[in-house]
């Protein structure tokens, strides 16, 4: 079929051309020597002026990591990673006192990415109904360090702590010590343990009891340097009755080598607290032949520690050569609630193995999983999830819906859900479907004057609508754009 050939060529074309964040910023940086050893860990800890207990914590993680093996159960294939081939720390050289001193190159980089580092500017030009522009506090992480955090003063007034975790370690050591590693333990898994040893920065958020965070908090991650790994660590604590919405975005230059990203995100929600965590993941996916791209091995987990607490994960995944990521909820508090909304789009030779875990431990806990996977090109897209109810989790309730859509005949879509019920009052429902975009739907659209591409975009947008609705408005705009980019030319 000639149309199919055309599709393949188009798909091939978009992957190389359409990644618009693939530029490199020429900026002087300060790096740790290549490779990983106890000295690297000590170097990072010293760079950050960390307290002694933190260094001990890191070294313990490093020693445990040495005894662990890389997991191989995910449906992804990649050549063996030589962990000695990466730089574990890279920071822009200049120290800053205020935003005005930020290297212009850096400012330009963030401007190109559409991320305002100057306060009062809006993301993606979103204007609210009342005419005001929405405000988002941004923490920008460049390679291994946080370069700027905006709106600090205003947040402080509300009592919200939002700062780089390296700073929090110095300013709020007790809070960090109390919560760090309590959701994702040091030796949780290979990549999380590696992160525990070498994490360099990330965001720390603490919302005090009863406070509704006055604005969206956002972190933008960028890997710039060659052969660097980015290991950020995010820790968010919502104290009793508080609410916070946190957004995360990421991009990287186009390089032929694979770069490593192994982050750990820990969320803690106390009684009646709610955390909404949204991610638009757009790391460089590699070229059409699968050369280069980011290995995205991320551990994200939320702990609904308190009663009636709620954690909701929303993710739009379009980037990375390999994604290995399972944002999870531990529903420990009675009546707590976990949600997971995901859109994963893979193209070219991308491999996605993503999903969630909902661990029902408390009574009357509920969870919902909505996952939409779209595979095009020669990619493989896997949903892998676990829903489990323990003996005493009476009244647990889960609804899972995971759908996949295939575009083209060289890709694969897979679903691997694990459902474990250990008590009779747990009610679990799971449904999954895989199908092709219906010819009838496309015909209907085209008959009304839409081009084939527009028709596909419309159908796909309808398909992923459930998830997009969950995104904060600032990100929904960006996500919608990403979806149209990823699918442009996928019509066959």
């Amino acid at each position: 079929m000639p149309a199919v050939q055309e599709t393949i060529e188009r798909v091939r074309r978009i992957d190389v051309d359409q990644y618009k964040y693939g530029f490199v910023t020429d900026i002087e940086s300060d790096k740790a020597p290549k490779g990983l050893s106890e000295d690297t860990v000590r170097f990072i800890s010293a760079k950050k002026n960390e307290p002694e207990w933190m260094l001990a914590w890191r070294l313990d993680a490093y020693r445990r990591w040495l005894t662990m093996t890389e997991p191989s159960w995910a449906r992804v294939e990649y050549p063996k990673i030589n962990y000695q081939d990466y730089y574990y720390f890279s920071a822009p050289k200049k120290k800053l006192a205020s935003l005005d001193e930020v290297d212009p190159e850096l400012l330009k980089t963030y401007a190109k990415l559409g991320i305002p580092l100057r306060e009062q500017e809006a993301l993606a030009g979103v204007v609210r109904e009342d005419g005001t522009r929405s405000r988002v506090a941004v923490d920008a992480v460049f390679d291994s360090v946080s370069v700027a955090t905006t709106f600090q003063a205003e947040l402080k007034k509300a009592g919200v702590i939002f700062m780089p975790i390296s700073e929090a370690l110095r300013e709020h050591p007790d809070l960090v010590k109390k919560y760090l590693g309590t959701v994702v333990p040091v030796s949780d898994n290979f990549f999380a343990t590696l992160n525990s040893a070498v994490f360099s920065d990330g965001s720390f958020v603490y919302v005090p009891p009863g406070v509704r965070c006055p604005m969206e908090l956002s972190t933008y991650f960028r890997i710039n340097e060659k052969d660097t790994g980015q290991f950020e660590r995010t820790l968010i604590i919502a104290d009793k009755g508080s609410y916070v919405s946190y957004l995360e975005g990421c991009t990287a230059p186009m390089r032929d080598e694979n770069q490593l990203h192994a982050a750990v995100v820990e969320l803690i929600a106390h009684d009646d607290a709610e955390i909404k965590y949204s991610t638009v993941q757009n790391w460089y996916p590699g070229d059409a032949e699968g050369k280069g791209g980011i290995y995205n091995f991320v551990t994200k987990r939320g702990d609904c520690r308190g009663q009636r607490s709620k954690i909701s994960w929303t993710q739009v995944e379009t980037g990375s050569a390999i994604t290995w990521k399972y944002p999870s909820c531990i529903l420990r508090g009675d009546n707590s609630r976990g949600e997971f909304y995901s859109i994963a789009i893979s193209n070219g030779r991308q491999q996605v193995d993503s999903g969630t875990k909902m661990l029902h431990l408390g009574k009357n806990t509920t969870s919902r999983i909505i996952s939409k996977g779209i595979a095009a090109g020669k990619s493989n897209n896997t949903y892998r999830g676990l829903v489990t109810a323990h003996r005493r989790a009476t009244g647990a309730r889960n609804f899972t819906n995971c759908d996949s859509l295939l575009i083209g005949e060289k890709c694969g879509a897979h679903t691997v859900p694990y459902i474990e019920a250990k008590n009779s009052s747990a009610v679990f429902e799971h449904e999954a479907t895989t199908s092709k975009i219906s010819e009838e739907m496309l015909f209907y659209c085209r008959q009304r004057g839409l081009s084939a591409e527009e028709a596909v975009a419309l159908v796909v947008n309808g398909f992923v609508k459930d998830v997009l609705q969950q995104l904060p408005m600032e990100f929904a705009v960006e996500a919608q754009k990403l979806i149209s980019i990823s699918l442009e030319g996928s019509v066959g």
């Binding site: 191989s72 159960w73 003996r391 996949s404 295939l406 575009i407 083209g408 005949e409 060289k410 890709c411 694969g412 879509a413 897979h414 679903t415 691997v416 859900p417 694990y418 459902i419 474990e420 019920a421 250990k422 008590n423 009779s424 009052s425 747990a426 009610v427 679990f428 429902e429 799971h430 449904e431 999954a432 479907t433 895989t434 199908s435 092709k436």
Partner: protein, 444 residues
């Protein structure tokens, strides 16, 4: 994910290795069969007993469930044969041709081989292996080959079983009932292997019954290779019942030809541990398959259905429906995987699994997987688990039906959804009678 290097063997694995070495000279078959056994045993030896580190056996850890390997059963004595006489009665009084195996060996005097309809041949696997039967040589170990160490162990130690052929175009009216009885007084292990070839356009129905006739803790490893030819029409029903504390591992390997119709049903109420694994391969276009099953479990019973439906050809339809009813501290496992290969366009596959928990101590684990490589397909799966619907129970009780009866009715309706997929009305009724009896015993 079986690549893991293992140095330490469990006592059961060591005993099986010893048993194989000792049994080798006495097992039927020469030349090619010996080579087949040797290769299979090496595969088993490398992987060991299936355990929770093997993804497909995640929820049924045979290494833990089989602490020791029982000695291989000897030929059945008169007493064992006498005990086996009433086996297979669960199917009621429907008309069948009975073929009986006791302790893993064919028993001609209990079997009915008279007046075979034209095109039907029935023999014993032991004889076929010994005589180098061409049908067995052509198919054994080649039907939907599964890389599974339980199948490998079966191939290494297979002793007897049925070899059935239905010639092209023939219709076998009378269902063939293969009755496998573990009747030895002392605990023993049994390895049976059967081959059934239904050729192009032929029609046949096969019923397998597996049960223990004593209180011994037998270990049964049984396998059936089934070839469903192009345009053939085949029903296969497997019943595992009885109160004996048997560990029962069963593998069904099926290849389905073009435009064929295949209906499969697994009914499990008995034994201590049951693993039913089904490997289905759709090799010809346009086939239609209904794969269903029901388990009724209580006490500490453990039943596992693991199904792989591999769509290699286009335009096939498959429907999978599995129901589990759990009482006591029982545990049911359902793993169903639908694979659609790149060339299998227009596949339409739907899989449904439901678990009904009647007790707070029961557990159900479900893993319905889809692995899709073709874009023009319709595939779906649904899975639910939960207790009986209080609303429905209330509705019945409000109309004067006592609680236990209301529960029974709801359970019967639940299981009935799967059972109604069986085409043979007599067998369908017999199974529903058994469900009712199970519920009656439960109500005490």
């Amino acid at each position: 994910m079986t690549a893991e290097v293992r140095a330490i063997k469990t006592p059961a694995e060591l005993a099986l290795a010893e048993a194989y070495t000792a049994a080798k000279p006495k097992l039927p078959g020469d030349g090619k069969v010996i080579a087949l056994r040797e290769a299979a045993f090496r595969r088993f030896d490398a992987q060991g007993l299936p355990n929770r580190r093997v993804e497909e056996w995640k929820y049924t850890d045979l290494r833990a469930l089989m602490r020791e390997a029982k000695p291989i059963a000897g030929l059945p004595d008169a007493a064992a044969k006498a005990r086996a006489k009433s086996a297979g009665s669960l199917i009621g009084d429907i008309d069948v041709r009975r073929i009986v195996f006791v302790d893993g060996a064919f028993v001609p005097e209990l079997s009915d081989l008279k007046n075979l309809s034209p095109g039907l041949t029935i023999g014993s696997m032991a004889q076929a292996l010994a005589s180098g039967d061409p049908l067995v040589a052509a198919h054994l170990g080649k039907v939907a080959a599964a890389d599974d160490s339980a199948v490998a162990l079966n191939t290494a130690l297979m002793r007897d079983g049925a070899v059935i052929r239905v010639a092209a175009g023939s219709t076998v009216e009378l269902p063939i009932h293969l009755v496998f009885v573990a009747a030895a007084e002392q605990s023993a292990s049994m390895f049976t292997r059967s081959l059934v070839v239904i050729e192009k356009g032929a029609r046949a129905m096969l019923v397998e019954s597996h049960e223990g006739a004593t209180a011994a803790e037998h270990q049964v490893n049984t396998a059936l290779e089934l070839v469903v030819g192009d345009d053939a029409y085949v029903d296969h029903i497997k019943i595992t019942s009885g109160k004996s504390p048997v560990v029962h591992v069963s593998s069904l390997m099926v290849t389905i030809g073009a435009r064929a119709r295949f209906n499969d049903f697994s009914y499990t109420t008995g034994n201590a541990v049951v693993r039913n694994q089904l490997f289905l391969q759709f090799d010809g276009a346009g086939a239609l398959a209904g794969i269903r099953g029901a388990s009724l479990l209580n006490g500490r019973q453990h039943a596992d259905v693991t199904l792989v439906a591999d769509h290699k050809a286009g335009g096939c339809q498959s429907r999978e429906v599995f129901k589990a009813v759990l009482d006591g501290q029982s545990r049911s496992v359902f793993q169903g995987k639908i694979i659609v290969r790149p060339k299998a366009q227009k596949t339409d596959a739907r899989m449904l699994s439901n678990a009904l928990l009647l007790s707070d101590e029961a557990e159900t684990d479900t893993k319905p997987e889809l692995e899709i490589f073709a874009d023009d397909v319709q595939c779906g799966h649904g899975a639910t688990s939960g207790a009986l619907d209080d609303g429905l129970k209330f509705y019945l009780m409000a109309r004067g039906i006592p609680e236990s009866e209301a529960e029974s009715l709801l359970v019967q309706a639940f299981v009935g959804e799967a059972v109604e997929g069986i085409e043979h009305a007599g067998l369908r009724d017999a199974l529903m009678v058994n469900v009712a009896e199970w519920l009656k015993a439960r109500a005490g």
